[in-house]
Symmetry: C2
Subunit: 760 residues, 2 copies
């Protein structure tokens, strides 16, 4: 039996544990948690029972109110995340489209007179935009570089990367990606938008940014990791929904690619957020249609509507489609491997030399990109326009300053166009639209497509990992649709009689490259369907993705996993490793000595223990009256630091104190070195019982490590205590014990005792 | 320390535990599990270490081969499930369409002469089909009644309902739903198809049906519950994919609605299965297009293509759409409540009287349905055909014996049609197509729609729960699209200037009713988009679903949950109940005495214990040499029964035996009463150590019950042992301890020690 003072301590612990941050517990578990009385205690102290019941009811009332408020805030935040991310996406798109629009308009008007002057203006314009981006990122928000998806993935897996969800990162991400995408680099704005959504969600979860005094106490109801993670999951989905105008794709992306823990209630909220984004973006685009947003309107959000394309497919086409899948898998895996090497080299050699090197690097990449995208089309001979069909809305060459196919660039005659310029000397969105376009058979020569593929692939590899916000979706679609269209051209020539559109193959190519590189499946499939607005190609996209992912998986891991690993984000995969099956929990702990605290501990001891190791959790062990030792809970380093900093819970006596309540103000990120204690303080004691987590998860020492892994991974834990085998069993909990009916309508429903665990 | 013989026992247990069915462990955990040596033991017995290592390597090799085979079979099964479910769906559809086609053709040809004769033929035809269905179900496969989704949900939640996944249930489901749907009852074939897919998957998982000698030992690699559940999940997705030709919807349905445990690897396999289904169904339909399948071809699979419908929507339309959402929530909740009452009453009064009553009941329902669907249109006055537009492909009245709008039924003049007959006297698929149809404004009168709504709603409520296979999707769509179109008519009249299609409102109505009744969200949304082949309405469907689900949730639970509860399937929700936060694990066990076994137990004792209670798991407790007791594992009733039946592990000595291997043939569903033992047998002993699960999950006695619930639910457990608090901590496992790198490429990747648990 537990001794009485111990019991007291544990009880109070239940009370106060709820007020401390960062616990392993379920969110609602804590909000509603209140002073509870243990069964064993109520039995021995009968006179307390009635009082306790009244108290319980009152607490339950208050708890329910709190839960209601909490749920309301959750949904309100989902709404805000949707609106915020939608607006951010609209802002980024309008800015990028306008910068790019001015750039191309200016260049086109100058090259009517001089190609050299146009070239210089084009280079300078790009350089300026790219420099603004890299300057913001390196000087102001270093965590905004890259796509951010590996870091978000890590966060949702339980690993914090420093600065990843700050307000300055949000700002850096938004303005940085305007510069880098507007500057014509081989990167996209979609990954950064996911990160943007996650930042918005996280800031809301903290009740605003404390540093910039934008916070409100009323909104600070989310104290637990799990709640924050849920919000960030919503943010990710909102980001994808906004980037591709693909609400269902967003939900699936959040589900498949980023979250590690998922509950179906969360799905509903994520779905709501995505729907809000869809409405916000649609409204904004409707507003822009009247021409209020400058160049934005005809370009902008990627919706490559190919609904007037190929409707049907024949079995003969499955072979070339499978080939596209294989190519996608190979090129995708190669992309992952190359970027891995380059990022590794960059991190260990180049970026160690400071932010000036980073800036020079990005500017160089911008210069090369500009030279290639302007210079290569110059070398290419123009082709005569195809004969104009009646009813065709596609003009050749397109009118200057407009978007569309058949770009007239450095062509002698009027009725000519430059096929390389059509895809190279254009914004990426327009290039993709041109590649996907139907009814434009033989627009591109194989030579141009091949040149573009090689050059753009190289540019994308080199650009990846520079210090600007960079997404891989759009470059991936560019690369994939280029070789897809190439295959499509051969198919058109080979199977002459069929109604085949090269654009369809371009779409499949895009899907295959993304599948081969990112290894997403269902979400990617839905995103592709949503951005092309064509459901009929779904089975084909599925087929191509299956092949490309399988091929890619034979070589390496997905892009995000590789990058996360390289960045030192220790992602826990959903499966235990093979060798874990033969290890026990005890072996996993190794020979490390367990550092534990007694229940009442001297402040000096706490300080020296915290200084001498880097553990984040400490078991607390107490002794019962008859001398047995007993593990009474787990104390986190962060909680100890809060206690040391506030000092109000210090006591002079080395005996357990009376149970007290009182939450602590939570200060994040304090280190033991920041805390200064007088020598008087060091001589005092702390009773840890009210502050520890009284029931951490435990496993017996000889449990198979893969079982432990599952427990850890599935419940999203941070610490598991390994204890000796138990000497006796107090009870056995089965499904029936957990089926507690609500009081209402329990009489109308009669539960049969179906045998719930007969063998089958 | 553990004593030596105990250690032996536990080791052997690891070996043999893998051969017994129905464990709580992860699948792969067991397949690869082999004889392991404990760290502590290797230390004390140094000379054994080398031998052990060689043994380990050999075992690892064999294990890897086994894992490869296992993964291969998994994917092969996914392929087979896809093909099987696709073919089953095609078969059901062809049969239903042909029966219904003959029926309507015959009736239409007879009513040219006599309406009375036509009426009788119609009634008889329906009665015959329905009777065949109810006869098959009551006499041959009682588990095939109803939709089967609640039972499958229960199965995937961990509860077996008797006979739900047998071969005879599969046969009963397929032929039963042909009869019930072909016979014109107010039910659909989609729920049964989900059940069909699950049955196919489960039979494959067992390696065929043992009873019908259709099994193969090579395919019996799936011994664990988890593997079977994964397969059944694939089967569910395949069923939805086949029913609606909605592969993505199928994946999401399996994810959102049926599974309780989900891993992203499974998603990939489920996705593959759905893609296979899509290809199979498409191929079959292509084959049928040439007219080889009789009446199937123009009708059949529900694809209500409304891509020529409304493209855009204005803000003013959001209000009526929200109203549709509210109506859907209200009518859906009412539907759930009414069916709950009727099913309750049926189960407790009507169906207790035997299968003859069930048959009479269904025949009565069929009679009423026939009378209403034939008789009501007779009472309705015909309307004149609208003026024919040029280019319109819709004929009025439609040619006899064809599918389409504007049915001429009991009309005097040539250019007239009966609007009630258009929706009532038709197959449900065609009725829905007619309700969704665009460019047919003012086809229906409000009076007809209202009549139809009331009558069909009542029929659907009454039909639900009868002893035939019955899905609720199509009736739900019928009901919803009727009131949706009704609202649409008012909108068309009210906002005169807008380009509004009544068909769009019918679609939204369908979504709202399904949302209000089944409470699905993302999956339903995707299914609706896939069956209507129109992505543009996605945000509207989302909006309507959000509202209808919220309204419905205010009244009761979803249809499947209600039904599962009524059938005594104890579903564990994904959240713990509110009151669990204040309970401990010990309180949940109550005062039940724990029945445990010693390590070596007398057969007579086993028999008497198994007879005296209904527990399914028993802790096994042994004593070390120095007299301490120690919990060495958990023994399942099913395993004990296998041991008792085979008798080969009986021994004469009451001392622990030498470790032996050897798996047992698994026989399902034996009961203690089936086992007959001689008095000699009863005097013998069994050493349980080789057969028990050596490391069941344990929780300390005072852990909060909501924490226990999460553990139980998230890991899909059947038993948790409640033990006293530990007296000491052997180690602490954190994220870092679980990050074991694979041997390859571990040198290229350098893991930073990112602080994974600083507070934020």
């Amino acid at each position: 039996m537990l001794s009485n003072h111990l019991q007291n301590g544990i009880e109070t612990a239940r009370l106060v544990w709820s007020r401390l941050p960062n616990s392993d517990d379920e969110a609602l578990d804590e909000v509603g948690l209140s002073k509870k009385s243990d069964g064993s205690r109520s039995e021995s102290l009968d006179y307390e029972v009635i009082e306790n019941n009244a108290y319980r009811e009152e607490q339950a009332q208050r708890g329910k109110l709190m839960v209601g408020y909490y749920v309301g805030v959750k949904w309100f935040f989902a709404l805000l995340i949707g609106i915020g991310t939608g607006l951010a996406a609209v802002f980024i798109n309008i800015s990028v489209e306008n910068f790019a629009g001015w750039k191309f308009q200016l260049t086109f008007s100058i090259i009517q007179k001089s190609y050299v002057a146009g070239f210089l203006v084009y280079i300078l314009f790009n350089l300026l935009l790219v420099f603004s981006s890299v300057y913001i990122v390196t000087q102001f928000a270093p965590a905004a570089a890259g796509s951010g998806i590996p870091e978000i993935k890590g966060y949702l897996n339980g690993v914090d990367t420093h600065g990843i969800l700050l307000f300055r990162t949000l700002i850096g991400k938004i303005f940085g990606s305007i510069g880098s995408v507007g500057g014509g680099l081989a990167l996209g704005k979609e990954g950064p938008l996911v990160h943007t959504g996650a930042c918005i969600a996280s800031l809301l979860g903290q009740g605003g940014s404390t540093k910039y005094h934008l916070s409100s106490r009323w909104l600070q109801v989310f104290k637990t990791d799990r709640d924050r993670r849920d919000l960030v999951t919503c943010g990710c989905a909102a980001g994808v929904a906004a980037a591709f105008r693909a609400p269902v794709g967003g939900v699936l992306f959040a589900l498949e690619e980023v979250t590690s823990w998922w509950r179906s209630q969360l799905m509903w909220r994520v779905f709501f957020t995505s729907a809000v984004v869809a409405v916000v973006v649609r409204t904004a685009m409707g507003w822009c249609k009247s021409g209020k947003c400058g160049h934005f309107g005809s370009g902008g959000f990627i919706i490559w509507d190919i609904s007037d394309g190929q409707e049907d497919y024949s079995f003969e086409e499955l072979l070339p489609m499978a080939i596209i899948g294989v190519i996608g898998g190979l090129l995708g895996a190669l992309f992952n491997q190359l970027t891995l090497y380059i990022t590794y080299w960059r991190r260990n050699y180049l970026h160690k030399k400071g932010s000036r090197v980073k800036m020079i690097e990005v500017c160089l990449v911008s210069l090369i990109t500009s030279v290639i995208s302007f210079g290569l089309p110059l070398l290419r001979k123009c082709s005569p326009c195809p004969e104009v069909e009646l009813n065709s809305s596609i003009e050749c060459p397109r009118p200057p300053g407009m978007y569309g196919n058949y770009v007239n660039f450095y062509c002698g005659k009027d009725k000519e166009y430059n096929d390389l310029a059509t895809i190279f000397f254009n914004t990426q969105d327009d290039a993709i639209r041109n590649l996907f376009s139907a009814k434009t058979i033989h627009e591109y020569s194989a030579q141009s497509l091949l040149t573009f593929l090689v050059m753009f692939y190289s540019l994308a590899v080199v650009t990846f990992g520079t210090a600007v916000p960079a997404g891989q979706f759009v470059p991936g679609i560019m690369i994939g649709s280029t070789y897809g269209r190439l295959v499509g051209m051969f198919v058109v020539n080979f199977y002459k009689k069929l109604n085949i559109e090269e654009g369809t193959y371009a779409l499949l190519g895009a899907a295959s490259f993304l599948g081969g590189s990112m290894r997403m499946t269902v979400s990617l499939c839905v995103i592709m369907v949503e951005i092309t607005n064509n459901l009929k190609l779904l089975p084909l996209i599925m087929l191509v993705l299956l092949i490309s992912k399988a091929v890619g998986d034979a070589f390496n891991e997905g892009l995000y996993e590789e990058q996360a690993r390289l960045r030192g984000i220790p992602l826990l995969e959903s499966r235990p490793k093979y060798q874990m099956r033969k290890m026990t929990a005890k072996e996993a702990c190794g020979n490390k000595k367990v550092v534990y605290f007694p229940r009442v501990v001297k402040v000096a001891d706490v300080v020296s223990i915290l200084q001498s190791n880097e553990h984040n959790g400490f078991p607390v062990i107490d002794h019962t009256r008859n001398g047995e030792s007993l593990v009474i809970g787990l104390m986190l380093r962060s909680h100890l630091l809060v206690l040391l900093q506030s000092k109000v819970d210090f006591q002079h006596s080395p005996l357990p104190s009376d149970p007290r309540g009182g939450g602590k103000p939570i200060s994040k990120g304090i280190s033991i070195d920041d805390i200064h204690l007088s020598s008087d303080d060091l001589e005092m004691y702390i009773d840890l019982a009210p502050f520890l987590n009284p029931s951490p998860y435990v496993v017996p020492e000889d449990m198979s490590l893969s079982k432990v892994y599952n427990l850890f991974r599935q419940l999203g834990l941070r610490h598991i205590l390994v204890v000796p085998r138990a000497s006796r069993v107090i009870g056995l909990i089965t499904r029936k014990d957990l089926l507690i009916e609500d009081n209402e309508n329990s009489e109308t429903v009669e539960l049969q005792s179906t045998s719930s665990s007969t063998a089958r």
